[in-house]
């Protein structure tokens, strides 16, 4: 899901950066207020985990590959604003040092994977967890899995739309329109990256609920109520 440079036209890249600037600012502001001393090393570890899980590419039956991101996991443990920070840092490192995802496209990639994925993942998880009422670790596993699945798929859809609108607005950039981009991105993430993200996120969060529930009670960097 790392959009390289040269696929998105200048208009899209500028708009995506313009959207991300206030999001990054809000994330930093929330972190300054709510990220406690105990949470900082946890965010460092979760960011490293995200970097690692993104290196596990999984084969997609149509011959391509896909991977999970880890934003929902960070969001569940420390809140979606913390996930914005952690995933953005991972994306910056990937773009500058490993040539994965473009630098001009960093705004778009951050919007998809750091912002959309984390917020959708977190609030779907919250919604499912509230709905099922059970407080067993298995309920937590289920809710976290659904959240991670939803998060990565909505993020993939956002990326597909950014790719797919290029033929209509910026000639010479991504050659495929929405009719090709959306099914391709949806396929890879609905049947491969989504289930991987759901399983990993669900198992880790369920394990934490069972063995270290205190780690799920660190202050969360959320919109307001928590």
């Amino acid at each position: 899901m790392h959009i390289p440079d040269g696929y998105l036209g200048p208009a899209t890249c500028i708009v995506m950066y313009a959207i991300m600037v206030p999001i990054w600012w809000l994330a930093a502001k929330t972190a300054r207020e709510k990220l406690g001393d105990r949470s900082v090393p946890v965010l460092a570890m979760l960011t490293a985990i995200s970097f690692l899980v993104m290196m596990f590419n999984w084969p997609v039956p149509n011959g391509t590959t896909a991977h999970m991101v880890g934003g929902t996991l960070i969001a569940i443990v420390l809140g979606p604003w913390a996930a914005v920070i952690g995933i953005t840092i991972a994306l910056v490192i990937q773009a500058f040092f490993f040539g994965d995802g473009g630098i001009i496209a960093l705004g778009a990639n951050s919007f998809n994977m750091a912002f959309v994925l984390s917020f959708v993942g977190y609030y779907v998880y919250k919604g499912v967890f509230k709905t099922i009422k059970s407080r067993k670790p298995s309920a937590e596993t289920f809710a976290a899995g659904i959240g991670a699945y939803a998060g990565i798929n909505v993020a993939a859809l956002a990326a597909a739309v950014e790719f797919g609108i290029q033929p209509y607005i910026s000639q010479g950039y991504c050659p495929y329109g929405l009719d090709t981009a959306i099914p391709a991105m949806a396929f890879a993430h609905l049947i491969v990256a989504g289930p991987v993200a759901a399983a990993v996120t669900g198992l880790v969060v369920g394990y934490m609920r069972k063995n270290r529930p205190d780690l799920l009670n660190l202050e969360k960097l959320t919109l307001s109520e928590g």
Binding site: P4, T65, A90, F97, F98, G99, D100, G102
Partner: protein
């Protein structure tokens, strides 16, 4: 470092050891959708205008390490460097924020 964190890092290191799976499983697969170096469109080839700078470890590998074995070594090195940088960046940024906050008070 808290005790659980040491254990967690140990568990994570197991996954670092097996991270070459991430390239070996997909060795004969094409790139992820939308991440191609070029696209053949009938008789023409479309190439993205790529990042003009130089990534030191492009595609999570040391340039020139092409075999499965050497790519795996390159992948390990990349995982360790990338994860270390992730930790350093998070700790560094939060430290910088703390210092700024300290000065304000």
């Amino acid at each position: 470092m808290e005790k659980w964190m040491k254990k967690a890092w140990l568990a994570i290191s197991v996954f670092v050891v097996i991270v070459p799976v991430g390239i070996l499983l997909t060795w004969n697969y094409e790139d992820a959708w939308g991440e191609w170096d070029s696209v053949d469109e009938g008789n023409t080839t479309w190439t993205p205008r790529e990042y003009s700078g130089e990534a030191p470890l492009p595609d999570y590998n040391v340039p020139g390490w092409e075999s499965k074995v050497m790519s795996s070594v390159g992948y390990w090195i990349s995982a360790v460097i990338g994860m270390s940088m992730s930790v350093i960046f998070v700790l560094g940024i939060s430290k910088a924020m703390e210092l700024r906050r300290g000065r304000k008070i």
